[in-house]
């Protein structure tokens, strides 16, 4: 675990420093910008899906699905981040009590 933390820390810092140090023209290609814009969208969407709909190597629908549905409602109502997260957690926790 510590190895992964150090690798991430060093890598994340070098990525930041590279932006401040590399001459702009090197990465000023539209394709680079587009892929970099799309990267967080693709990874976050995949993280949501895997986090909510899988357990190990199985696809599952359980209390987390209800939590996500409530999170969507909270986001549509423009609730702040902490409210979205708490509402999802509370929904799942209450469902498991039933």
């Amino acid at each position: 675990m510590w190895t992964a933390i150090i690798v991430t820390a060093v890598g994340a810092y070098l990525l930041k420093l590279a932006g401040l140090s590399i001459p702009g023209s090197v990465l000023e290609h539209p394709l680079v910008h587009r892929v970099a814009d799309l990267m967080p969208v693709a990874l976050l969407a995949a993280l949501v899906a895997v986090q909510v709909f899988s357990t190990g190597s199985e696809l599952t629908v359980d209390a987390r699905t209800a939590g996500l549905a409530v999170a969507v409602l909270a986001l549509l109502a423009r609730a702040p981040f902490i409210v979205v997260v708490l509402a999802a957690a509370l929904t799942a926790a209450l469902l498991r009590l039933l």
């Binding site: 991430t8 990525l15 932006g19 970099a36 967080p40 693709a42 990874l43 949501v48 986090q51 509370l90």
Partner: protein
Amino acid sequence: MTAAPTHRTIVRDGIAVGIATGAYGISFGAISVAAGLTVLQTCALSLLVFTGASQFALVGVIAAGGSPMSGAVTALLLGTRNTLYGLRLAPLLAWSGWRRAGAAQLVIDESTAMSLTRDTREAARVGFLSTGIAVFTLWNLATLGGALAGEALGDPRTYGLDAAVGAAFLALLWPRLRDRRNQVTAVLAVALALSLVPVAAAGVPVLAAALVALGVGLATRLMQDPTEIPERDDLPSGGEHE
């Protein structure tokens, strides 16, 4: 905000953004401990990695049963965003040597958004530093608080903390879903990731989604959207988080 904000109002805005990110820090601390990391490992991530979405990704992959290294690769793919921010900031801040080395750690969504909008180098530097330092301080304090609270709670499933992880990712993704190309990317990424869950090792489904970003990026290069405003679309607005 007035047309020419004083340094004082810029600093005040920076502190306000820092306080807002405190809420994310508490969530991160609690979720990280729930994923099985220790309080020390959780705090090390916030101090050393210091870029929210990457940190959430690392602990999210581990929570889903992936290996720490596949989590690290996912985190670094998300961190490439900061390189582009740095490219925009470099000519504006114009720091070199140890100042640049120190400033690099503070290159994140918030500090970028709060300095790119300034008219002068001086104002940009004040915006960058005040936001960066405020977020760094409060993000780390909040992480510690969240981690300690998460540890005190015990089994995370009882409190639905496993459901909180998905909600946190969705909240980070949400502001980007207004754009049609991003919507298509998100749907394809979900489909690919879920189809790989039964057959691939944990951690791989999320990493594979990076291919979707590459694919959609290449595809839209061929059919350029004339309404695209390339200077703006990779930057979050003021209060938004990464």
